[in-house]
């Protein structure tokens, strides 16, 4: 499995750097720039190619020690007034547990390729957060071990939080995901070798195809 290095902070939280100091420091080292729309917090724009390097530095540098990546936020700028550059963006809010500073990394994502490097090897929390961003926006995280839908069902087509997905466009599900393949992948990653699939009560029972009926029983009648 991936090795995760984390510092456990001792004692109370320390003041840390101010937003300006952080911006200068990272601006000099990685040429990150402050985002135009950042008014309240520190939002730094980062190129996708740099992302892994920057995050690694932020996590491992003892004077910064951004130990937590709080979330992976997808944004679709399609309907944003006056927006000219790439259509999507991914925001990575991070915080440190040793120091009282936070920052948000912003990566612009081009609509054509729609790829960002995955950060799974730096933080365990990222795996699901990236799955969610993929599910909702269709942004691909290159190098993600298990990029599957998380919130929507597995028969869903499209990415609902994109601005061009109609809010009320419903998609029915005929049967639940058996998830046996995920379980097998999981066992393999734990060091098991799978010889035979065998009887899986799960796969058969849940995938019974009568799931959502076309003809309904008489509503309101005697059950």
């Amino acid at each position: 499995m991936i090795a995760h290095r984390t510092h456990v902070p001792q004692g109370p939280i320390q003041p840390g750097l101010t937003n300006e100091q952080l911006a200068t420091l990272l601006g000099e080292r990685f040429a990150l720039t402050r985002d135009a729309s950042d008014r309240w917090d520190l939002t730094l724009v980062c190129k996708a190619e740099q992302l892994r390097e920057v995050v690694k530095y932020l996590r491992d540098e003892p004077t910064l020690s951004f130990a937590m990546l709080l979330d992976v936020v997808g944004v679709d700028y399609l309907a944003y007034p006056g927006h000219r550059s790439e259509r999507f963006a991914v925001l990575y809010p991070m915080k440190s547990l040793a120091f009282r500073h936070r920052l948000v990394l912003k990566v612009m994502v081009d609509e054509e390729a729609c790829v960002v490097p995955s950060l799974c090897e730096f933080y365990k929390s990222v795996e699901w957060a990236e799955r969610e961003a993929w599910d909702q926006y269709g942004i691909v995280f290159a190098g993600h071990p298990n990029l599957k839908r998380l919130l929507n069902h597995h028969e869903f087509v499209g990415h609902p939080l994109r601005k061009d997905y109609p809010c009320q466009k419903r998609q029915k599900l005929s049967m639940n995901d058996p998830m046996i393949d995920q379980l097998e992948a999981r066992l393999r990653s734990l060091g098991y070798t799978i010889l035979e699939r065998g009887e899986t009560s799960v796969g058969q029972a849940i995938t019974r195809p009568s799931a959502v009926p076309s003809a309904l029983p008489k509503a309101g009648g005697k059950p």
């Binding site: 599900l173 009926p213 309101g220």
Partner: protein
């Protein structure tokens, strides 16, 4: 061996006096069904927390004979859907309904279960009656506990009007 005078047998009813009544099968069966509903709480969201409220001591649904919460659909005859049902959840709900034995009744608790509530978007089922038949709808987001109790009383009234014979003969 001497002959003893054995009293002539009498009809057994003579001794029973007023201790029995005659009634219809329907009335007895319905009385039993009505007063011992075993609910299966299909609680998914906020309404389920209110359902926990009515089971607990202040509102105490056992006053209406419906406190024996069963988590197996095979042992329950009342399905209470409390919470939003999404398309991902819909096959599960349908299957649970199919697993319940007759007679079974369904209460749809709250705006979400009855109509989708204010979640009118790509993932929510606009009312569970798209999937299973419903007997009682309760309004509210979440319904007040009193509304929950009222729905059980209404369901009892409804059960009272059902007929076992009719079900058997018509086959429903």
């Amino acid at each position: 061996m001497t002959y003893q005078n054995v009293p002539a047998p009498v009809a057994p009813e003579i001794n029973l006096g007023d201790s029995f009544v005659t009634t219809r099968v329907d009335a007895v069966v319905n009385w039993g069904r009505r007063n011992s509903l075993w609910p299966f709480p299909f609680g998914t969201a906020c309404c389920a927390i209110e359902f926990m409220g009515i089971v607990s001591s202040v509102f105490d649904v056992s006053r209406f004979g419906a406190e024996l919460v069963r988590f197996s659909p095979r042992q329950a005859d009342l399905l209470i859907i409390a919470g939003t049902v999404t398309y991902k959840q819909a096959p599960v709900l349908r299957r649970i309904y199919e697993q319940m034995c007759e007679p079974r009744w369904v209460i749809s608790a709250g705006a979400c279960a009855s109509s989708g509530g204010f979640y009118d978007c790509y993932c929510t089922v606009p009312g569970i009656d798209e999937i299973i038949p419903v007997d009682i709808y309760i309004a509210g987001c979440p319904p007040r506990p009193e509304a929950f109790l009222e729905s059980i009383v209404q369901l009892q009234k409804k059960i009272d009007k059902e007929s076992l014979v009719e079900q058997r003969t018509v086959g429903i």
